[in-house]
Symmetry: C2
Subunit: 121 residues, 2 copies
């Protein structure tokens, strides 16, 4: 299964605290992936993901653009080529800066308690 | 933890069937990642990964360059932006074409039997 991130429709993320952000699940549980899901996320200029935390980790790769990520109480600049590890239960938020920020966000397919992770389908 | 893929030393992969290929584990078990590991892999011009299969899956993102991937008995062209899902036990091989091929390769941290996955540290 091969798909290019430029050819896949993005769906707006409708969630409290999200602005101008869309997502496509590139590989997930519905593709048969048993352990983790790979999502493509675009944050338009001025947009941001929710400032939140949850009981599963993220592994992130910045594909293009500039922005910031809040990790706990620390704000960091991020740019294309950056890999970011957001451990479980750490508060985090991604924001674009100037242009769109595009990144891959990987999540485990299952939470520790054995329930599907949101957005891993 | 934030690291750019251009700032991380790459280590040559010394394995039978590999040519001119290097790897850096960007996020792995030694970083505390419990479920999956994110590795950066570069295949120099003329190089290739081994033609093999194993009991765990890959999720791959092509960062730059062109190349081919063998999936079972089918050869596919790949290019920047492509996401490739290589399911467990499927024979596969990545080759560069003309220029270096750089991709991210994610693997689960543990095999089904509970042993660490090679290259996930």
């Amino acid at each position: 299964m091969i798909r290019n991130i430029n050819d896949v429709p993005m769906n707006a993320i409708e969630m409290e605290g999200v602005k101008d952000t869309s997502m496509a699940v590139m590989v997930g549980r519905s593709d048969g992936a048993p352990n983790f899901a790979l999502r493509s996320i675009t944050v338009k200029p001025g947009g941001h993901t929710p400032k939140h935390s949850h009981d599963f980790e993220h592994e992130v790769y910045v594909v293009e653009g500039h922005g910031t990520v809040l990790l706990g109480d620390q704000m960091h600049l991020i740019r294309a080529g950056d890999v970011i590890y957001v451990k479980a239960d750490l508060e985090h938020q991604f924001k674009s800066q100037g242009e769109s920020l595009r990144f891959l966000c990987m999540v485990p397919a299952m939470r520790d308690c054995g329930e599907p992770t949101p957005g891993s389908d």
